[in-house]
């Protein structure tokens, strides 16, 4: 069996599963945010049970529109807080105590290798970076999980993506995942799992692995996953003393297919409007002028992402007529970026630093686009209307490309900008 099959077998109490089997699995952790959560809470109440199945296995995060940008948002936040209190749920990440749900989940030690995690958010697949099987579900399904602690799942077939080579300077895991999505397509992995493996993955930081697994859903995948190694185990142990099991794929594990990628010659990539799989090299769209550069989201709002962008921004100014919005993914990221001077570089260059939130990526608040505007964004979706007006255009790129483009005012290959003083 491969790692996904092993986790699903263990969580359903069977020795062996195969792709296509329908199993009833025990959920280790369930997560909701304030966009999907209130509907799940409302629905849970219709079932008529007094208590959730396990109050210590539920995490509530306020992230999409924090601090509340309207009375309606404030009411949704209130529903979450009241539910946490009623159910005596200790893990409520409120304003100032968290950030984007997927970052908070890994940072605060809620994600462990071998866990089965469901979240009422499509990017729940992010947690595969630490060797968990994690997938997004809807609100009604979450209400049923709150009631029973169980969920039915179809065991997916798995696509193996083997990555070799070394990333060039200013070429990042984001460029790799955009390249992968361009090749597999927006529907190329529907109902399947994607396992990333190979020497380039073992070399990669946890931050980069989170970016890869985060975007598995953009190919329709049920999850993205990476076998936990020492790096992953260390990351988890620094955050929790919980007990977990390491699952690894057997040497003779079965895969639907294996795709090989080499990053030696990979160049900065961009997903052009209005589809995540409309992927081209950055240098082929360098004449596109931008109005906004967004650095943030659960895909690329981590410390490593901010530091990379700051390497380009240091000693430079955001082009006149362009606004650069930096939204750290969590309070922890914000704090470290503040301490090490990264945020200072952004502010000196004329960027604005917002509080941790999904913000502009979700098109909720803090940086919406007007009609006819163009945004280069480190986030994950460039759908029509995603970040504001349906007549705006979104280009998805790495933090380095976002920073370079903010400086020049046009979509720019970051390798063109040598570091000032370097």
């Amino acid at each position: 069996m491969n790692i996904c099959e092993k986790i699903l077998a263990a969580s359903s109490g069977t020795k062996c599963v195969e792709p296509g089997d329908i199993i009833e699995a025990k959920v280790d952790v369930a997560m909701i945010n304030e966009i999907t959560g209130p509907l799940a809470i409302q629905t849970f109440k219709k079932i008529g049970l007094d208590k959730v199945w396990d109050n210590k296995r539920i995490v509530l995060v306020l992230d999409h529109q924090v601090p509340a940008d309207s009375v309606r948002s404030a009411e949704l936040h209130k529903i979450m807080r009241v539910f946490a209190k009623e159910q005596n749920i200790p893990f409520l990440c409120d304003v100032g105590d968290g950030g984007i749900c997927h970052q908070v989940m890994v940072e605060k030690g809620h994600v462990m290798p071998g866990y089965l995690i469901v979240g009422a958010d499509s990017h729940t697949c992010t947690y595969g970076a630490l060797g968990a099987f994690a997938t997004g579900i809807g609100s009604t399904e979450m209400a049923a999980v709150f009631a029973t602690g169980k969920i039915w799942l179809k065991v997916p077939s798995t696509i193996k993506i083997n990555v070799t080579g070394r990333f060039g300077d200013f070429v990042t895991p984001k460029d790799l995942i955009l390249d992968v999505i361009g090749k597999i397509g927006a529907d190329g992995a529907i109902y399947k799992a994607i396992e990333f493996t190979g020497p380039a993955i073992r070399e990669m930081s946890i931050s980069g692995r989170l970016t890869l697994c985060n975007m598995a859903v953009e190919m329709g995948a049920k999850t993205g996953i990476i076998e936990p190694d020492e790096k992953a185990v260390q990351y988890v142990k620094e955050r929790t003393d919980g007990i977990f099991r390491i699952f690894r794929s057997d040497p003779d594990a079965k895969y639907e297919r294996t795709l090989d990628f080499n990053v030696d010659d990979l160049e900065p990539m961009v997903a052009c409007p209005h589809s995540v799989d409309n992927v081209k090299p950055v240098k082929s769209v360098e004449n596109v002028e931008i109005n906004q550069a967004f650095l943030g989201s659960c895909t690329n709002g981590r410390l490593e992402d901010l530091e990379l962008a700051a390497r380009i921004m240091r000693g430079r100014r955001v082009k006149k007529g362009v606004r650069m919005i930096v939204t750290p993914a969590s309070s922890e990221v914000y704090f470290h970026a503040l301490l090490n001077g990264t945020l200072e570089i952004f502010i000196k260059s004329g960027a604005i630093v917002c509080n941790p939130t999904c913000g502009a990526c979700f098109g909720g608040h803090m940086g919406l686009l007007a009609s006819g505007e163009v945004c280069v964004s480190s986030s994950n979706r460039n759908f029509i209307g995603r970040m504001g007006s349906p007549e705006a255009e979104i280009y998805l790129a790495s933090p380095a490309t976002v920073a370079a483009s903010a400086v020049t005012g046009k979509i720019t290959d970051p390798r063109r900008l040598l570091e000032v003083g370097a």
């Binding site: 329908i22 966009i35 999907t36 209130p38 509907l39 409302q42 629905t43 219709k46 079932i47 008529g48 529109q65 309207s70 309606r72 948002s73 009411e75 949704l76 979240g119 009422a120 958010d121 499509s122 729940t124 997004g136 579900i137 809807g138 609100s139 009604t140 399904e141 209400a143 049923a144 009631a147 029973t148 039915w152 927006a186 529907d187 529907i190 109902y191 329709g220 049920k222 589809s275 979700f362 098109g363 909720g364 979706r381 759908f383 029509i384 209307g385 995603r386 349906p390």
Partner: protein, 167 residues
């Protein structure tokens, strides 16, 4: 279970931001959501859907976010069933869980025309185009999923199961 309605056609990769834009997600009222269904690509949709329609779409319908508000908005706008070449998995589950019939049917999107009157026999995965006098077959849903849809959704199904456990 038989559902019927006129066909409304959509293309490939209709994502959840198109089905219901994020700016409306602060509402928990499905009737309010329904007023904005598909508005960024087809502002007339909520009006046309009122009489009870069946969406016939291409590949990867419902891709993107996990927002259950997407199938909810369609259901309350008047969509009786969705047929597509393929679906994004979270959307597919969400539709079933709120009791909205949904069928994967390869080879229908180019064959059925806008406004065709369709009758669907869910248990048999049979799509009858009454306007054209043609029959298409869809992937059949497993029995336990049909049961959830017949009960009106996952919660109704669960409540029924809890009641029968107690009695």
């Amino acid at each position: 279970m038989i559902v019927s309605g006129k066909a409304v056609l959509f293309g490939d990769n209709i994502n959840t931001d198109i089905i219901i834009p994020s700016k409306y997600l602060t509402s928990l009222d499905p009737n309010e959501l329904a007023k904005h269904a598909m508005e960024s690509i087809d502002p007339s949709f909520p009006n046309r859907a009122k009489e009870g329609v069946i969406i016939v779409a291409g590949r990867n319908f419902g891709c993107g976010s996990s927002r259950e508000q997407a199938p909810l908005a369609l259901k309350y706008a008047g969509v009786n069933c969705i047929i597509a070449e393929s679906f994004a998995r979270i959307f597919f589950r969400n539709a079933i869980n709120i009791g909205l019939p949904i069928l994967e049917a390869a080879g229908t999107s180019g064959e059925i025309d806008e406004g065709d009157v369709l009758k669907i026999i869910l248990e048999e995965g049979k799509i009858i185009d009454e306007t054209k006098g043609r029959v298409f077959s869809a992937s059949r849903l497993p029995g336990f999923i049909l049961e959830i849809i017949r009960d009106g959704g996952l919660i109704e199904h669960l409540v029924k199961a809890l009641r029968s456990d107690r009695s």
